[in-house]
């Protein structure tokens, strides 16, 4: 009996250990993507390379990739050659987490000279050389430095040659080396905690606790799956892509002991860097299925195993070397919505309508103006921001306004962004009428206007989707508003790629809303009135789309002006 309770205690402890590991990384990392946005991952593994626990961090994109990574390291490095003090590294998009900008570090954990397990962590770094972070490369060779699975530290000695090569190939060498150091440190912290736990419970290895975790997780996951009605359904979603519109297609089948998602029918590779390695497709497909079916079961080798994800080779969701993959998140973030198009037919009123999906990120490269003499204070600067549109309405509740799904990353404060470079965010607020109409309304997107400080011009690198393919509603719900972006001189801009903005001009962006759920005419009148009073919808929309009465409209507008609720 005591041993069952103490095993549960140890399982909780391992989850706490990986959370500590992740927290240490957030606090020491340099890349904004890690420390501000939470684009990182951390996990602990047994000696066989099976993932036992993974920190819940800002990105589901590492969910399965992390589970697969350690066995690659064991194979490439050779378990028999591993020693205490070793640290291994890679940024292989296919054996790591999907693009060169993710650095994965693995550390073997030894106890009394015996290999008992591994710690792994991954962080999205801001620059890895090459063309810079963007979709513009034609192959992975142009996307930056490639680090095959290799030793970063050999029995405690850092490979100085590797560090020199890294430093010589990237734009921000100090930051990158700082990030690599943070990755190694956080694994070390995990290792220390694990050793303490093994001492406390007098464990020589992790076999028994691993079996307990994996057996319970497998059993609990299978119970959830086997409680569902078996069946098969297909779903598809069209999105903008880079060169051509992309069809994402999936067939989901609920079977005994397994849920399969196969992406046959999905478009082929894009010539530009938005292709997705299979690991990343697996991560987001698996995340989508887990959210809907077994959300409370922690991620580990056994709880992920019953989700089988497949895709035809050379489709855009199973890109192989040397396809360009830097912006694989632009497509990857759309995978959950695609999966839900199929799953909705199998599990009615469970999954949300389509949402903004892809994060609304852009990078601004500022420099002194070149059309006229620049003031002496003008300088060069790179500023990357993370932003979100609206999420899809849920079967019983509205979508979330300007909140990321499926990604979980955070935006940066405007005041912090304006300290990072000579950029001015003129506007960042909710976008009324952008949520798809319905009994439950899609989350609204947001407006953002960006310009440079006096004396600067800039290149604007767009990473948006849903310009031509807005989020569709479900069960009769309306579409969310599409992405739009224009220069202040009226020029329409493209949703992806680098575009020049001259001195004095701004970029006005409207980020997409989520789709609605159910018929707008079925929406509770009190909610429609309140939406109008709070300005989530306009008077025209209240009248024409939701059919609100003139009396109600007048009441709501008056309440809006006086800061009252009309619920």
């Amino acid at each position: 009996m005591a041993s069952t309770v103490s095993k549960q205690v140890m399982w909780n402890r391992l989850i706490s250990v990986v959370e500590e590991q992740a927290q240490a990384l957030v606090r020491t990392a340099f890349s904004t993507s890690v420390r501000e946005a939470g684009d990182l991952s951390a996990g602990v593994y047994d000696a066989q390379g099976r993932m036992l626990a993974q920190a819940v961090t800002g990105t589901p994109g590492h969910v399965n990739a992390m589970a697969d990574a350690v066995p690659h390291f064991m194979r490439r490095i050779g378990v028999e050659t591993m020693a205490q003090g070793d640290v291994y590294i890679t940024n292989d998009p296919w054996e790591g987490t999907g693009h060169l900008h993710d650095i994965t570090v693995v550390t073997p954990s030894f106890k009394a000279g015996v290999l008992v397990g591994f710690f792994a962590c991954t962080a999205h770094i801001v620059d890895i050389g090459g063309r810079g972070f963007g979709a513009d490369a034609n192959s992975v060779y142009e996307e930056g430095l490639y680090i095959p699975i290799m030793r970063l530290m050999d029995r405690g000695a850092v490979d100085q040659t590797l560090l020199r090569i890294i430093r010589g190939n990237v734009r921000e060498p100090d930051q990158l080396v700082g990030d690599v150091s943070a990755l190694a440190t956080c694994n070390e912290i995990g290792h220390c905690r694990l050793t303490e736990m093994m001492d406390e419970f007098d464990l020589a290895d992790l076999e028994e606790i691993a079996a307990f975790i994996l057996d319970n997780s497998r059993w609990a996951t299978l119970e959830k799956i086997n409680a569902l009605e078996p069946g098969q359904a297909a779903g598809e979603m069209w999105i903008d892509g880079y060169s051509n519109p992309i069809r994402l297609a999936v067939s989901v089948s609920i079977e005994n002991d397994c849920i399969c998602a196969d992406f046959a029918g999905t478009s082929g590779l894009d010539p530009k860097g938005i292709n997705v390695p299979m690991v990343y497709t697996k991560a987001y497909a698996c995340y989508a299925l887990k959210c809907a079916i077994a959300p409370e079961i922690p991620n580990n080798a056994a709880s992920l195993a019953p989700f089988e994800i497949t895709a035809p080779k050379d489709s855009i969701v199973n890109a192989v070397h040397p396809a360009p993959v830097a912006l694989r998140h632009v497509i990857g973030h759309m995978i959950p919505d695609t999966v839900y198009e199929a799953l909705d037919q199998l599990l009615p009123r469970t999954v949300p309508a389509q949402g903004a999906g892809t994060l609304c990120n852009f990078q601004v490269s500022l420099r002194p103006r070149t059309d006229a003499p620049a003031p002496t204070h003008a300088r060069r600067s790179e500023v990357l921001t993370f932003n979100s549109g609206g999420s899809g309405a849920r079967p019983w509740v509205d979508g979330l306004n300007a909140t990321a799904f499926p990604s979980g990353v955070m935006t940066m404060p405007v005041e912090a962004t304006e300290h990072a470079g000579p950029v001015i965010i003129w506007r960042k607020e909710l976008r009324p009428d952008s949520g798809g109409a319905g009994a439950f309304r899609g989350g609204v997107g947001q407006f953002m206007d960006v310009g440079a400080r006096e004396g600067h011009e800039f290149d604007f690198s767009a990473m948006f989707d849903r310009v031509d393919h807005p989020a569709l509603g479900r069960a009769g719900g309306g579409s969310g508003a599409p992405t739009t972006l224009t220069r202040s001189d009226g020029t329409t801009m493209r949703g992806k790629g680098k575009q020049f903005v001259p001195h004095g001009q701004r970029v006005a962006m409207a980020f997409p809303g989520g789709g609605g759920y159910g018929l707008a005419s079925d929406r509770d009148r009190a909610l429609v009135r309140e939406d109008l009073a709070q300005g989530y919808i306009s008077e025209a929309s209240a009248r024409d789309v939701f059919g609100l009465s003139e009396d109600d409209i007048a009441d709501a507008l008056e309440a809006g002006r006086l800061g009252r609720s009309v619920k």
């Binding site: 103490s6 549960q8 912290i189 077994a294 300007a402 006086l562």
Partner: protein
């Protein structure tokens, strides 16, 4: 100062402690929500009668309260509007644009403190250098004043972008509103929380505005009622940073009162630590609903600049609202005597954060509760005396506890009531120790060097097991543990921390700017303290938050008065690198350093504390006692078995008495559990010292 009164209004009880030259007298009165001052008056009269002291003899009242926190949690504030920069109306609603729970498809975000139509804008803009890009239009302010008047707002928060650098626009708006609408209370973000990051600053300012009318009227009423009762002495308020401020300052910045009760608890633990000459203390405060854990180094609780209140989702980080004020840094988790247990889909026992509260309470209260709480598990394991709980005021029903444990945990897991009880307490103890471990790691501390100080009703039952789990060798359980926060108020200094965001890149270090900033902050902080005490000496502590350029997290670096008066870049850099190494094991070569936030804490010195010699193994100073012969079966978690334990009433133990585990020391409010691994020694100040046996 001979006679002082400490008053802590908590969610369930109002604790009142009277200190006279003869010692402490305390009482607990049920909190009277409608008029919180009623409970204070009742408690004051009660302790005065007990101590034989006239209320007019009280020279000072120190007060802390959860009223501010509760008003935020329960959304019972004033009708409030925000005035902000055009284009940024939705900052508090958009938050960080992320979900605090990744796997919940039906997640609901907490409602912002003010709905969208109470957030008003003006066209204006200040840039990141503090320069005005768009000036304010006076006519637009007048028009907005009309709108605010018509809408009947009682309180207005003014929060503009980059106002921590340049407050001129906020002041311009405030002047117009003060002239036009004198009945409306105002809160300016450049005064309430002049720190960069608009979401935290705006939210803090709105919170201040939201509770200001309520707190102002309560504090005014309290002052009058106390005077009527003969206590016309000065009243001071405990703030979240662990010091006390004047009633007027508290009425102006009520958001600083949030979490003042727990802050008092940390001050209490720091005081006990000082008495026992301890440099490293883990304060562990476990009550009915939550447990709070705080690190105290060199008798000073650790502080932070931002914390989160009103978490709406299982105490999860991100599910509440950020408040950026100086605060004692603690972790609070949903683990208390009333926390309820269930079995989840993974066949694992989960405990909390849902709590049985006092109604219906744990199953053993016999008030209709059918789900097992932590208190039920403690009872079934023999850790509580059913006939002597809360001084005998509630008779605990052990059969009801057994039934709840068996049906909710035992049946699904195949455990009997005792096994289920053990599982439940192991899980809750592990939850608390994990929280303590993570907190220690975040602060670069190793808990094995720490001494635990445990207080709050449920802490003495769990302190020894927590010590075992954390590898902490010594734990002190002070007398008066049930009213620790109120005692802590009496031990707190007058203090006020002033903070400001000023970006300083070390490549362009401006010693004059740094010295001026710190001097201004010192003046601001000192003035607040001076308003409380016209004569006491005032000490200033200087803090600068630094990081490597490119990082997102700053670490606080402490400066001496000398270093603050003539700041030197190399010295600051060396201090930063030393602290960074302590936290993260190494520095990063070749990166530039920058400072973002500057803070000065002014305080009156705490009176010197007489250090007690530790009474432990010293031969002759302690005596082994075996108790009175009474025994009880108590489950020992570390050994995994039930053992026959000595049972001793606390008042039967004298200074120097030693009691080997397994044993239980019963008192009115709680029980101190001494497992086999520990030995209890009664200290001269009445603290029970639980030390690991091999040292005893």
């Amino acid at each position: 100062m001979d006679v002082r009164l400490g008053v802590d209004i908590g969610g369930t009880f109002t604790d009142v402690v009277l200190e006279t030259p003869a010692g402490l007298t305390s009482t607990k009165v049920l909190t009277t929500y409608a008029a919180p001052e009623d409970a204070i008056i009742e408690g004051m009269n009660r302790v005065c009668a007990q101590a034989g002291v006239q209320t007019s003899a009280i020279e000072q009242i120190i007060h802390g309260t959860t009223l501010a926190t509760n008003a935020l949690i329960e959304r019972r504030g004033a009708r409030t509007a925000l005035i902000t920069t055009e284009g940024f109306r939705d900052v508090i609603e958009m938050r960080t644009e992320s979900r605090f729970e990744q796997y919940d498809l039906n997640l609901r975000l907490p409602d912002p403190l003010l709905p969208r139509n109470q957030r008003l804008t003006l066209r204006e803009r200040i840039d990141a250098g503090g320069e005005v890009l768009i000036p304010l239009d006076p006519a637009a302010i007048e028009a907005l004043a009309d709108q605010i008047d018509e809408a009947g707002y009682e309180s207005v928060a003014i929060g503009l972008l980059h106002s921590y650098l340049n407050d001129s626009h906020e002041r311009q708006i405030a002047e117009v509103l003060a002239r036009r609408l004198p009945q409306v209370t105002l809160s300016l973000s450049s005064e309430v929380s002049p720190q960069m990051r608009e979401y935290e600053r705006f939210n803090t300012t709105i919170a201040n505005a939201y509770i200001k009318p309520l707190m102002k009227s309560y504090l005014g009423r309290l002052e009058g009622r106390l005077a009527e009762q003969g206590a016309a002495c000065p009243i001071f308020l405990m703030h979240s940073g662990g010091g006390i401020i004047s009633l007027d300052s508290a009425a102006e910045f009520p958001v600083r009162l949030v979490e003042s009760g727990p802050a008092g608890g940390a001050v209490f633990a720091a005081h006990i630590g000082a008495r026992h000459g301890l440099d490293r203390v883990l304060s562990f405060d476990m009550g009915g609903t939550t447990a709070k854990i705080c690190l105290i180094k060199n008798q000073t609780p650790k502080t932070a600049r931002v914390f989160e209140v009103a978490r709406t989702y299982r105490f999860k980080k991100g599910s509440g609202m950020p408040i950026s004020i100086p605060v004692i840094d603690m972790v609070e988790i949903g683990a208390g005597g009333g926390s309820l247990a269930h079995v989840d889909a993974l066949q694992q026992i989960r405990v909390g954060p849902e709590s049985a509260g006092s109604e219906p309470g744990p199953a053993c209260y016999g008030r209709g509760g059918t789900r097992p709480a932590v208190t039920d598990a403690d009872l079934v394991q023999g850790k509580l005396d059913p006939d002597n709980f809360a001084g005998g005021s509630i008779r605990l029903d052990e059969a009801a506890s057994r039934a709840a444990l068996e049906s909710e945990l035992g049946a699904p897991l195949g455990l009997d009531a005792l096994e289920a009880a053990f599982g439940l307490t192991e899980v809750v103890d592990e939850n608390m120790s994990n929280a303590a471990r993570v907190h220690a790691v975040e602060n670069g501390e190793d808990l094995s060097d720490y001494t635990m100080i445990a207080f709050g009703g449920a802490a003495p039952l769990h302190a020894a097991r927590l010590s075992e789990k954390l590898g902490i060798r010594r734990c002190l359980i002070p007398p008066g543990a049930g009213v620790g926060s109120a005692i802590g108020f009496l031990r707190a200094p007058f203090s006020f921390e002033a903070t400001r965001s000023v970006y300083v890149e070390f490549s362009a270090f401006d010693a004059g700017l740094v010295a001026d900033t710190l001097a201004e902050l010192r003046t601001e902080a000192t003035d607040f303290v001076r308003s409380c005490d016209a004569h006491a000496p005032i000490e200033a502590e200087y803090k600068v938050y630094m990081r490597y350029r490119g990082q997102g997290w700053e670490i606080p670096v402490i400066l001496t008065a000398q270093q603050a008066a003539s700041p030197d870049m190399e010295t600051l850099k060396a201090l930063f690198e030393a602290d960074y190494t302590t936290l993260f094991g190494r520095t990063v070569a070749g990166l530039e350093i920058e400072a973002t936030v500057w803070a000065v804490n002014a305080s009156t010195p705490t009176p010197p504390v007489e250090t007690l010699p530790p009474l432990m193994a010293a031969a002759g100073s302690s005596v082994d006692v075996a108790g009175t012969g009474a025994t009880r079966d108590i489950f020992d978690a570390a050994l995994g078995q039930t053992l026959r334990a000595a049972v001793v009433p606390r008042d039967a133990l004298a200074t120097g008495d030693r009691l080997a585990g397994p044993a239980a020391i019963f008192e009115d409010e709680t029980t101190v559990i001494v497992p086999t691994s520990r030995r209890a020694t009664i200290q001269p100040d009445g603290c029970i010292d639980l030390s690991a046996e091999e040292e005893g």
